[in-house]
Amino acid sequence: MTKRSDMTAEKNWSGQKIVSPDYLLFEAPREKHFMTGSEVVKEAMKRCTVDASVSYPITPQSEAAHLIGELWAEGYIGTYFRGENEFGVMSEVAGCAMAGSRTVTTTSGPGTLRAMENFPMWSGTRIPCQLILMARGINSPLTIQPDNLEVSFLLETGCMIWYAENVQELFDMTIAAFIVAEKPDVHIPIITAVDGFFVSHTRESVMLPADDIALPPYDPYAAPLPPIDSEMPPGRFLRDPFVMKSNYISYATHASWQWEVRSAADRSRKYAKHFLKGLVHTTGDDVADVVFVACGTASHQAKEAHRELAKLGVTCKVVKLRTIRPFPTEELIEATKGAKYIFVPEFNVTGWLYNEVVKALYGRSESEVIGKPRVAGGMSMPVEEILKEVANFVKID
């Protein structure tokens, strides 16, 4: 059984060499592997010097949760257990993080909604834990299929939300997530989302650094609030006190507290820019009539469409959003300049990303924004269908 006190300045408790985030993400030599999103989550967490993880089964994230458990059994993670349900799990995660652990958990669809009350509590208590979300349908009748409607429920929880496109980005993003979330001026929870199955169960090639190097450990004393461990003043400290005017004195505290949580998310931009190489990523023609704005698998489908449109002589560009909270408004406006048509393909019925895009571009863009194609309930988004939508606006011969 490894002990946290086994850690030295050079090696973490599992004997991995401690390296800088930049080295791990950008400089360390990488080798090609062929694996699923679930498997790559294990590889990422293995290199993150994680203190704690709590799990609960729900498709499609269960395999990732099993594999994190294996890391604990192998001595890479300090403490791990199966909670009673997602509400309990997210509260157990809060306890671990408040007490000073670098903490990760995973969930999907109905689990996310069951746990919902916890997420604004997470951000309000300024814990930098990571939730790896493998999006799944949440409607009745029950579905386990990929559909990311659940993400719309998380948009205003005060947590950061990043969206990974594929297995490779999931690996890099879940490592960068801890680094950015733990910055003292950020220090709020981060939700790293992928579309369930499309990423969790899809096997593809991925480049990984060696597994004998890892991130420096989390320092709970370089944080905006003292950890709950009785080791840092003030001795009289309630992490999330009642400050309601009815009992005490201040509405202003509540207002200011909530603005501070939003400010913290905003401060993450400059760090995310560095560790994600940009809040958005653009591929295709610099000047394009057709611009796809998408995140996750939808941006993958859009890239497939871009390739076909190029063959047909249509100028086209794909703007992939890597961060949803904070929303990359300025980057989006810059990237869509001069577009005739902006298509927002989505894997949900309400078009929450379309709403975000329209809100961001309102009064600042001439482009026509089209919330299509939109599929739901786990349907795929064949490139053929995307091309049909585009053909309704652009002449294709």
Binding site: H66, L67, T202, F275, L276, K277, E304, G378, S380
Partner: protein, 244 residues
Amino acid sequence: MAKDSIKVRMPALGGQGAVTAAHIAATAADTEGYYAVSNPFFGAEKRMAPSESYTRIGTVPIFDRGEVVYPDIVMIYHPQVVTMGKSYTMPFYAGIKDDGLVIINSDIELLTDEDKKILADKNVKVLTKDFTKFAIDIAGTELATNMAMLGALFGVLGTIGKPAIEEGIKDRFLKKYTASGGTASLDSVIEKKFKKKLDLIQKNLETASAAFDLAAEWAKEVGLEPMLLDPSHVVPVDTGYVTA
């Protein structure tokens, strides 16, 4: 004419190993230098219930994900897919592209005259063969059917060689591999049938290899055009990952 990417749809019955086959196919293609992706249909598949998996192979990065709605190749692992409609699409060749290919595992002719006409009009070639018997003859178990189908696929394509297939099979059975509960226990059943893993791999290889030759022969006979550009056309592209 050969394309820069093809999509393969594999309708099967739960327990036949179509997911495993899709995985090995993608690994083999990846080994050969192609871009490749495999995934199962996302459901709660049970034994003998419809189960589908997909493999996408290309000389360009494969961005497309999920169910293959418009396949270039359809591989039918079990006659019931057609006779009892144990398939997520009706008819089983729905959405198939022109100049496509259908591989059917059956000891009898399953196509109606109407099916044949529709497929002929789209210039889709059909290879029907009792790959289960083929597997029993060579490997001594019907559980190697998926290997026979796999060999046939690559025999027809002709641009992914036997060494790559061997690599794919070894990767699947020798590496630590995350499989769903059902697949994991099936693995152990297979292992019981053969004494040693290597023995299992050898049998699988022989089955796939024989089917490879048979299908390559067939492709010549029917004058099948090459479907997929060979790996020399693979172009490295900045796919925009955090680590480009």
